[in-house]
């Protein structure tokens, strides 16, 4: 029972940790792309990577102040969005999907390659770029703080505070945009881009704006993640993260402002709770309805894979049976003709 409570407390803590902020911001960007505009961006993690590396390279390699680094990271994300969008946004949706996933993988390989080691640090990545950020922290970075029975370091607390502030501001921005005629055009493009064209809307331009804005959210997520871990390594930015972010988005419900935020929190609760729960079960040698011992089937390292299996199946089941997300409106989805 104690283990259950521990797992529960770990799960709740994860809902607010910087990883959840990271996925919330990634998924908010994807919500703009996929939920509102119908764009299939499967390379969201690349935006996070250029965001994180933008800060790291600017600060450590070029000796620029931290906030200039943030700016450079955001500009890099905008440039990446333009590069990806220019050739593909005129084509059918799956072309963007293929190009974005390819670009994300190519960028990661490029960043970790031996040739780029002088700039990106290769597989080792870059660390010690966040002093400019930590200087602003009201909490001592080395300190330990207990909040409602959970323990946070000063770095975490500051990162999380800034991160959730970004999430709230971003949500307000998306809320305002989606109530405006601009948001209406995005939704029209999602429903039928030819109809939008026939009504005199420059579909290409709107798709590009959506791609750029969503990419900026991804970059912000990458920055929060980089500040949370205190380092950037290319292999932290695996494509699987994009899929997890999609999982969060679909879980919370696409095309609603708080969907990705709620989804990311739930996702991390599930991950942390099942990780610690499964580990505890394996450790205790629990048997499965007397049929077999759980630790015959899973050992401790398998737990980390189990989360991906569960999330993969979860994405499938949600997409098939509840594409509106757990809290979504069934009525709207019945009309989904895509």
């Amino acid at each position: 029972m104690n283990e259950f409570l521990d797992a529960l407390s770990l799960g709740v803590r994860s809902m607010f940790a910087y990883q959840a902020v990271f996925f919330a911001l990634l998924a908010m960007g994807l919500n703009l792309h996929f939920g509102y505009t119908g764009l299939l961006n499967f390379g969201q993690i690349a935006f996070a990577m250029v965001g994180g590396f933008g800060i790291a390279i600017s600060v450590t390699q070029w000796g620029l102040p931290f906030f200039v680094g943030v700016l450079i990271g955001l500009v890099a994300a905008v440039v990446l969005a333009l590069l990806l969008g220019l050739p593909t946004l005129r084509l059918r949706a799956d072309y963007l999907a293929i190009v974005t996933i390819a670009a994300a993988e190519a960028l990661r390989l490029l960043f970790r390659s031996v040739s780029s080691t002088p700039v990106t640090g290769g597989t080792q990545g870059i660390s010690a770029f966040n002093t400019g950020f930590l200087d602003l922290s009201p909490w001592s970075p080395a300190g330990r703080y207990d909040i409602l029975g959970t323990r946070w370091s000063g770095v975490e607390l500051w990162t999380v505070t800034v991160g959730w502030t970004l999430v709230v501001l971003g949500s307000l921005l998306i809320f305002a945009l989606m109530r405006s005629p601009w948001g209406r055009v995005l939704k029209a493009i999602r429903e039928d881009e030819d109809a939008a064209r026939a009504l005199g809307k420059n579909v290409y331009s709107y798709k590009m704006q959506s791609l750029v804005l969503g990419g900026v959210f991804g970059a912000l997520g990458g920055m929060v993640y980089a500040l949370g871990t205190g380092s950037v390594q290319p292999d932290q930015y695996q494509n699987a993260n994009t899929f997890l972010a999609y999982g969060a988005l679909i879980l919370g419900g696409a095309a609603r402002v708080l969907g990705p935020v709620v989804g990311a929190m739930l996702l991390w609760f599930i991950i942390a709770f099942s990780d610690s729960g499964l580990s505890a079960l394996i450790g205790n040698g629990v048997s499965f309805f007397g049929l077999f011992q759980l630790d015959d089937v899973f050992d401790a390292t398998d737990v980390a894979f189990a989360r991906f299996i569960i999330i993969g199946i979860g994405i499938m089941l949600l997409m098939i049976f509840r594409p509106q997300g757990i809290f979504g409106d069934r009525r709207e989805v019945l009309l989904d003709a895509r």
């Binding site: 005129r90 601009w182 009504l199």
Partner: protein
């Protein structure tokens, strides 16, 4: 303003030389129709004949898909302020021509102009902004937007559609209110006002056709191109739709429509253009068409429904090509696998 209250009749003489009558109430269905008819009355019934006041002029437009010529039109003029019906057997290239004229497809050769301005190489939204709007064969109601939102999308020049201004509601609130009023007026006219907050996806097929037409009118178009406006509409609504199409003419708009139902064509067209195998084979007033030998041949000759077997694979492929050509311009229409396989790898 319509000065002549006589009921519309074929070949009725017109006494009003002032052509346009924008803003005429729908009730006053009179002069402009007869103006166009009058203007067209004395023209010879021959292909490519020059019209007195053409809105659209097409010159030497060809479009081929692989080896198949979908459209090859030497010269065609569309009379301003009239209703022009475009008919022809399946695969005649009607929809492809529509796509070309509205920028949804680009031709291999040729030029075409609207009010003297070239439309060549313009993208669909630029054509729409010039005042040439279209509807689609498969209705494109934006399902997960409400009826009112659908209507508001039709309005042109909205400040709130720019990203930065969208963030400052003050810059677009008043315009939005005006557009909403206009939209409600139109919805009332099309008897959709009670549904304004419903998702467009729940409307019936006929209501969607009405919505699509009403939405097109939000942009105050000069030319309205309707692709099979009556297809799949129940007979009760057909009359109402026909009335709305005639109203467009009364308001001074130029209407071009594709239709299969000859009764409908005879009822509302001022002029009929017949296409077959990509070419214009005849044009003239509605009553001239049924007498035209080429037209009869085209319709009878085009229907060969011989069963296809696996061995006749070449034929399957050839017909598939034709079907592809026919379905160009409705990409993503049904959103199903069929759409992909039949209309290609890219959506423009």
């Amino acid at each position: 303003m319509p000065a002549d209250p006589q009921p519309t009749g074929a070949h009725a003489a017109s006494s009003t030389p002032t052509a346009t009558s924008t803003g005429t109430a729908p009730a006053g269905r009179a002069a402009p129709a007869r103006l166009a008819q009058a203007a067209l009355r004395d023209l010879p019934w021959e292909v490519g004949v020059a019209k007195p006041d053409p809105a659209l002029v097409v010159d030497g437009v060809t479009r081929t898909f692989g080896g198949l010529t979908a459209v090859s039109v030497d010269h065609l003029e569309i009379q301003r302020g009239g209703i022009t019906g475009l008919i022809g057997p399946n695969g005649a290239g009607k929809t492809t021509l529509f796509n070309l004229l509205t920028g949804f497809d680009q031709p291999n050769t040729g030029t075409w102009t609207f009010d003297g301005k070239s439309l060549g190489r313009l993208s669909p939204h630029q054509v729409a902004r010039l005042g040439v709007v279209r509807t689609f064969q498969l209705t494109k109601a934006l399902s997960r937007l409400t009826v009112l939102q659908n209507m508001l999308l039709g309005a042109q020049g909205q400040a709130g559609e720019s990203f930065l201004k969208a963030l400052v509601p003050g810059t677009w609130r008043s315009q939005e209110r005006a557009n909403t009023e206009k939209a409600m007026d139109l919805l009332q006219r099309f008897k959709l006002d009670a549904k304004k907050d419903e998702f467009a996806g729940v409307l019936s097929g006929g209501q969607r056709k009405l919505l699509e037409m009403a939405r097109a009118l939000m942009s105050d178009p000069k030319v309205v191109m309707l692709d099979e406006p009556m297809a799949g509409v129940n007979p009760a609504l057909t009359q109402s739709l026909l009335g709305h199409v005639k109203d467009l003419r009364e308001e001074g708009m130029t209407v071009v429509f594709v239709e299969h139902d000859m009764d409908v064509v005879r009822d509302i067209s001022d002029w009929v253009v017949v296409m077959a195998a990509g070419k214009v084979i005849a044009e003239g007033p509605p009553e001239s068409i049924s007498q035209n030998k080429d037209v009869v041949d085209a319709y009878l000759g085009a229907h060969h429904d011989a069963p296809l077997t696996n061995e006749e694979e070449d034929r399957v492929l050839a017909e598939a090509e034709a079907a592809i050509a026919r379905e160009e311009g409705v990409p993503g229409g049904s959103g199903r696998a069929e759409t992909i396989t039949s209309d290609g790898t890219e959506k423009r």
